[in-house]
């Protein structure tokens, strides 16, 4: 049987197909890559900013907490000073140590006129 070569279906050349697809994809890839790069850059900038903001916020939060802690410490210290300054407590301590309140003390202005002075 004689075969008519023209009637034999041929497989399309892969190289030709690949060549056509390659020339199309390079343009697209460059385009997409540019988009991705630009988006990535923008995202990176945004993320960087968000990171900076979050970091600053955290620092502020730490400082505010520190401030609150210091205020609490100061308050507590004031309370302890007030308790230590109790006049009743001081009088009791004084009495325990043998001190007594002065009784009948007087302030008197004494003026000396020295002889021979104008």
């Amino acid at each position: 049987m004689k075969i008519n070569r023209d009637s034999v279906p041929t497989i399309p050349s892969e190289g030709g197909g690949r060549q056509g697809a390659t020339s199309l994809n390079v343009g697209r890839i460059v385009y997409v890559a540019s988009l991705v790069l630009a988006s990535g850059l923008a995202a990176m900038l945004l993320l960087r900013q968000a990171d900076d903001i979050a970091s600053l916020k955290y620092d502020i939060r730490v400082l505010i907490n520190r401030q609150e802690t210091l205020r609490r410490l100061r308050t507590d210290l004031e309370g302890r000073i007030a308790a230590q300054e109790s006049v009743e407590r001081i009088l009791e301590l004084g009495e325990a140590w043998g001190y007594a309140s002065p009784d009948g003390a007087r302030e008197i202005d004494l003026v000396y006129e020295l002889a021979g002075q104008p």
Binding site: P9, I11, K57, I60, R61, I64, Q67, E68, R71, R72, R74, T75, D76, E78, G79, R80, I81, A82, A83, E85, S86, V87, E88, P102, G104, A105, R106, E107, I108, D109
Partner: protein
Amino acid sequence: MGAVVATSGMRSQLAQETRRRITFLGICLAVIGLVLTVRVGYWQLRGVTFVDPTQSLVLQPLRGSIVDANGRYLVANSVIYTVGISPHLLREDDREGYLRLLTEVLGMEAREAGTVLDSRQPYVQLGTEVPSATVDELLRRCDEDQYLTASVFRLDPRQQRVYADPRLMASVLGMVLSDGEAAYGIEQQYDAALRGQEGQWASLIDETGQAVLAEWGEYRSPRDGAQVVLTIDRNVQLEAERLLTEALDTYEALRGNILVLDPRTGAVLAMANLPGVNLETLEELQTGDFWRVANTAASAIYEPGSVIKPITLAAALETRSVLPTDTYDDRGEMWVGGRRVANMGDVPYGQLNWTQMLARSANVGAAHLAATMGPARFYEMLRRFGFGDVTGVDLPLEAQGLMRVPNMDTWHMSDLATNSYGQGISMTPLQVAVAYAALANDGVMMRPHLVAEVRWPDGVQRREPAVLRRVLSPQVADQVGEIMAEAMELGMENAMVAGYRFAGKSGTAGVPRDGEYDHRLATPSFVGFGPLPEPRFVILVKLEEVVGDALGLEVAAPIFREMATYLLDYYRVPASQPLAEAG
């Protein structure tokens, strides 16, 4: 040919798979987009409050402290904690460690602590008033032990008022109730300054109050309350309260007051009102204990009795109704408006000058002065002395007193006589002291005040002395002071201080009950100022409802002398007379 068909089918299948995946991804993205759109639309359409200050994180300011004239703390704050634990976060292996922590640091019973730890509850409260030292110890132990963590505890700090001496001048200081509201005294009067201003950290929230984003928006730090500096010296106050406590015990009086004023400025140096309260045990108070909490020196009225006679004399001299050198014939009684007015014991003293009238505390003499003046001038002068009106002291709930005047239906001509010696008229101890301060300050009345400064974190606000009005001419004020001092030397030795001249007057008032005087009770008092010629102190001593014959001269005058002696020592006032001569 078969191979060709197979390859084409595979490609088609691959394309279909890819399309399916893309479709699936698209649907996922669409769903996410839809959810976001719906949520954003929900926020937009339902009118969500984005930054709502009322829902923000509120930062509490510190309440300001109160200090005395020397800067010593009277009221400050301490931090206490509400401590809770989350047992469901604990591992079984660490149970023993936490058990020791609860028993050794927080002082819980082992059984109770075990029950708490085994409960596996998300939160159990362990204490509501845990001192900061205990919390510090708790945190230190957690730091040191690698198996314990402080994060299972919830620590909610809050401030609590601390009193250096919780019984000292309680009615002057006032209190802060458990809900944070100030009541009575300086705490109430200066609440706006002491309270400070809340800070806030605004949050982005949805309408249900849930924070969408925390710490969104402006941070405003809290403004701590101001420190209030009193004119009261706590040492003088302590001495006044010591003397008053002794007197209340000795004479079994219902209440008492000792007031010390600087007549030159109106500054209150001491204000003792007893019996008082312990500000740290307020929960023990009963409903009827109002007068133990309230400042009776400014809020409670009483009939002053004879201490008003120098005011009547000053009014008569100021209106030129009489002269300092005049005398009158005291027959022991007189009739005014159809009512008999008599001296104590109906004693006729004969011809008396004003010094003798005050020394003998002659009711007839005071009534004679009032009758000579006439109602219009007499009551006009009483008004100038501030009776029937508030003094404007920086305290809440000040009473204005009760004074009937001629245009009132209830006034009777006989009131002219009885009012002249302090009966049928009511006033606060502060009003009496302020009136005497005007006599001592060359006739100029100063506004009484208890606060010298308000110290804000960014500045000091000084309370300058304020003149209320001129009540008397300086000459009349001097004349009255001299007459009073001579009267003291004549008949009030109990109140005299060796080496110094004081001007004063005793009073023994009846106690009105249901329209009658209860003769079993008396209100003895003594008011005076000195040392002359430049008075630095006005001292009022009053005991209320003393049983029996409690004369002001015998009961209150010695307390006056002790208080005056203390003040002269404390402020190092040089003697104005040779000690030997004064006796």
